[in-house]
Symmetry: C2
Subunit: 646 residues, 2 copies
């Protein structure tokens, strides 16, 4: 049975040597001809617009010549792009795309549907909703109450998550002011379960209602008064309605000296785009609080608890907590199950609540590993049998299962979903929250039979307007061929984990011209990080220089010969990596923490993303062995010839 998956994997991609080129060509040509004949079959009684005669005119021939000529120039220029398809490319998080995704994208691009609204995409808006429901199920949401759509990528998905979190956080204040203005009495349910009159709550309590309690309040207001009045009154007391200056002043007038501005807690290992997002939203980079990580680069639940207590001690509300499922640097998976426990405890013991978001842009698809073919969760033991390794720990499965405890999740199909750019996914557990950012074109005329607010007007709830229906098709077709369970993406991602562990083990054991690789812990998914420790490097600076020199030989430089293998690198800096650096410095030997933490310090780390499923075992060509051999050669070369100025 496992053999069957393995065989199927051979058909999922074009292949490192384009082994499936004939299959792909057949499908691409099929899609193109099918489209062409659809055009011809549309009102076949009509004459054409491009007569055959025109196709031998001077102008036509010139234009065709130009197209052919410029295309061949483009094809030539594209050869400067990177061999993502090859097991020799082990740098950033990109590999081949599935055949299904590539063909699905191309086939749909010919129709060019715009998924902003079903009016411009009757077919593909439905595919987008199906894809979002697939992924909602995969993370454990109930697709009937959840909602999702495809923004262009993870940064926008995260942006939408925080935009909604900001709106939900402030919602009780807006509802309280609106209710007062409209003379409505409402009750709020506190985190402890108690029900109290809304007008009895102070600023701190209002900012610490749970997201669902906040949405319940909004529903109650809409039930109590004319929706038009409710909407207007809420808008007159919301940040997005009145703007930050007046909103801040309103708060000060209503509640006296306001509390400190709310913070966004993000795992220290979080992506740097979170800073971009809080800056753009006006929340402010200074309100971003990093939660320390542990030695596995996961958010430390004890540190989270301490952070929350510190926030409470300063009476600082928490707007949202961002946990990471698959860090971009290490593929570390936060123990979301433990984080969810801390959240519950904080509500109970500290009276603090917040929106919980999982940034699963990289790791989200790995949840497919936890699903059996027949729709039940697999145990860690079952998965271990399938990978033939000690991976995963039980806690990993619990962390993945706990995705269902979040309020929102972002996932990038264009990462571990193996589909072409652009494809991000934003998932919201309680779809009511999308109304907080919804906007209708004022000129939209309600059409009998088609409601303006219905599911199929995706642009209503997203920051983007026009967007390619082809993205939705690509993901949809890929999910059909490579399903979101043990026989599809689950298998594929398992193989990459196995490959990453082979690489990790080979590097850990390697003799690198007398030096050795100091390894970061075995990854939670498939990104391998290490530092090459040359035997004679006197200090941290020398070690960093050596690893930089290795990176320079293992990456593409403009004008230079392509390297034998491609890796990337990162730098572990303080305070981000304070929780993880200890064992590494110790193993490096002769490097002090002070040296590392000094300005201009940090530790340069070589980083390899194993998305290639073929690395899991030795083939005719074994890229794991080949890379380690090449790395040893480079180390020898660097030690004999000191770094030249480049």
């Amino acid at each position: 049975m496992t053999e069957h998956r393995h065989e199927a994997q051979h058909a999922w991609f074009l292949g490192p040597r384009a082994e499936n080129a004939d299959l792909m060509e057949r499908l691409v040509v099929e899609a193109l001809r099918d489209h062409a004949f659809w055009r011809r079959g549309f009102h076949p009684e009509e004459g054409g617009f491009i007569p055959e005669r025109a196709r031998r005119s001077e102008g036509y021939l010139d234009a065709t010549e130009r197209l052919t000529q410029e295309l061949s120039l483009l094809l030539a220029r594209l050869k400067a792009d990177l061999p993502f398809f090859s097991g020799r490319y082990l740098g950033h998080m990109v590999n081949e795309q599935t055949l299904a995704a590539q063909v699905g994208y191309f086939a749909t691009m010919l129709y060019n549907p715009n998924n902003v609204a079903a009016e411009s995409s009757p077919a593909t808006t439905l595919l987008e909703l199906e894809v979002a429901a697939d992924l909602a199920r995969m993370v454990g949401y109930d697709p009937r109450t959840a909602w999702g759509h495809l923004p262009s990528g993870g940064t926008l998905a995260n942006f939408e998550a925080l935009w909604i979190a900001r709106s939900t956080h402030d919602l009780p204040l807006s509802v309280a002011s609106a209710a007062k203005e409209l003379g409505v009495r409402l009750e709020a349910s506190l985190p402890e379960g108690e029900h109290v009159p809304l007008d009895k709550l102070g600023l701190w309590e209002l900012l610490n209602l749970s997201p669902s309690a906040a949405l319940d309040l909004r529903d109650a207001l809409f039930r109590s008064v004319d929706p038009v009045d409710a909407r207007r009154a809420l808008d007159a007391h919301s940040l997005s309605g009145v703007g930050y200056q007046d909103y801040t002043q309103q708060l000060a007038r209503t509640y006296g000296d306001p509390l400190p501005a709310a913070t966004v807690l993000v795992a220290a290992s979080g992506h740097y785009s979170w800073e971009k997002i809080v800056r753009a939203l006006g929340i402010g980079a200074g309100r971003l609080v990093n939660v320390p990580i542990d030695s596995r680069c996961r958010m430390d639940p004890d540190a989270l608890w301490a952070t929350l207590r510190a926030q409470q001690a300063k009476r600082t509300p928490v707007l949202a907590l961002v946990s990471v499922c698959g860090t971009t640097e290490e593929s570390a998976v936060d123990r979301l199950d433990k984080i969810a426990e801390v959240r519950e405890r904080a509500a109970r013991e500290l009276g603090i609540t917040f929106h919980l978001h999982s940034d699963a842009c990289y790791g989200g698809y790995a949840a497919a590993v936890t699903w059996g073919k027949e729709g039940r969760r697999r145990t860690a033991e079952e998965i271990r049998q399938s990978t033939g390794s000690a991976w995963p720990e039980a806690g990993w499965v619990e962390a993945m299962t706990a995705l269902s405890e979040t309020d929102s999740v972002s996932i990038d199909p264009h990462k571990l979903g193996y589909v072409p750019y652009p494809a991000g996914v934003f998932l919201l557990k309680d779809r009511r929250a999308r109304e907080l950012v919804a906007l209708d074109p004022p000129y939209l005329v309600p059409t009998p039979g088609i409601s303006a607010t219905e599911e199929r007007f995706l642009g209503r709830y997203s920051i983007e307007g026009s967007r390619p229906g082809a993205s939705a098709s690509a993901v949809w077709l890929s999910h059909k061929v490579v399903p979101l369970h043990e026989e599809g993406y689950g298998h594929l991602i398992e193989r990459t984990v196995v490959g990453a562990r082979r690489l990790h083990a080979a590097l850990a054991a390697a003799d690198l011209a007398g030096g050795r690789a100091v390894m970061l812990p075995r990854p939670d998914i498939n990104i391998v990080n290490y530092i090459v420790r040359p035997p004679d490097a006197p200090d941290l600076a020398a070690i960093n220089t050596f690893n930089e020199a290795l990176y320079a030989r293992l990456s593409q430089r403009p004008g230079a010969r392509p390297p034998e293998y491609y890796v990337t690198r990162t730098r572990l800096i303080t305070p981000t990596y304070d929780g993880a650096i200890g064992p590494l410095l110790q193993e490096l030997g002769g490097v002090t923490r002070e040296e590392w933490a000094a300005p201009g310090g940090g530790l340069v780390v070589l980083r390899m993303t194993v998305m290639d499923p073929w690395l899991a075992e030795a083939h005719t060509t074994d890229h794991v062995a080949g890379f380690v051999r090449h790395l040893a050669e480079l180390c020898a070369e660097l030690r004999s010839a000191p770094e030249r100025r480049r």
Copy 2:
């Protein structure tokens, strides 16, 4: 010579009846094979990973079967999408895409470059910069000091424009506070030309420095102190650094009672996404001020002057002014030349300055009409000779030329650029301003020879992270084959204007079963709007119902038979259309302004976008005549059979 362009046009598209299917298939297969053999030529000494034997295993055959089967299901489902390629589709702003764009997209998608940074896209990041430079030249910017890139679409381009405008507007405040903290004395240049010490300026003056004066101040600060200190101090006094609550409080502490929050002025005809953007940025929907339009649906320069005076009278700073080049509803082109004059006068006489943005998402490509092949501007008279019509007026050319007066422009190649979704463009006249939103990953290690801040790290300045290099290729190849002047896009768009005018004239003259079409003015580009006035409709409600019924028969309904022709519709409402509604109501007859302005009122308008270049003249099939005939039939049918409940 014009004949030559006309002949070339036959080669630019696949064609309404896929007349160029053979050409497209040849190029697509060429691109695919070229890519496949590139893979095979990469380390040809290595063995493959998918042995031929594997291709007859059960698992492989099952997976292939599934792919083939699901693809054919997808192809079937796509048939529900709309026939954008046909002259019968005259609804939203989408038509065929150029062959070059489709083939360029597909060819590049096989490589899947990520234009977030050149490290993942050595080839296509350069293409993106070339495309941005092409378009910068087209709008009259100097590509050496301007900057641009490709976000996923117009909404994000507009978002980035306002994000930068917000940052530029507040910049003098941040610089003033930072300079004070760092003990630096700086001079500011006032709109009137005077130079004064920065610490002598009050809040109003600081918020009314010109964008370039603000950027000069920042440069001066960076020249005076260590850039690290400058950056930190600016951040400690900026909205994006400290967040809106603390920023508002800082302002109040520093300047006493702050001024009213700054407003964003937008043409009343502007896209509704501007509201979405000010909401997300925290500027607030309430700070959006609509500038009235005239009877041609263009921003009224006199009304703009009056609005600016009113802002000044209330001491309300203006953050930005958004003018529209090609409204989504009417393709109206603001007289940007006159708006730029008002801006200068406001600086001179009112001491008010602001960021001027042109939302040219729809109309931007029409600037290609103003460029001769040899690189000089064409006169209105020259263009009129080429269109054989009264279009354009001299003012239109002046408006297009005045795009160079703006601080930023957004353009959607996926609209009048005829390329597939997603492709928006953001252009910034003074590239220094992008630094205000720039963010470096903290772990980025400067590499010898590759600067972190250099041109090729596009993600540094944009809200999105990963993005498809294929979009850049598509636009690039399309510009190569259909150049941005009279022989390429200029010709193409001229033809659509001619087609739109044919349609306008035919509708204006049509007998519609005893009724007639009340036409909005001839469009500035190619969107035709009208109201069918049945002879016996007693009031506005009846007229609206009649036009809604027409729309229902001229659009795709789920489950219903496809219509003969596709149109869309909009609704002219108060106060947006106050400046344009008068002549229409008069011509409709028997409809009062009160009726129109009443709640639930508004005027339903049928709207047709003519992006199809083949409508410019009668072919074997004349879709202009065909549509008018069909419309008359529908009117007759509707009058004889009163509307059934649908």
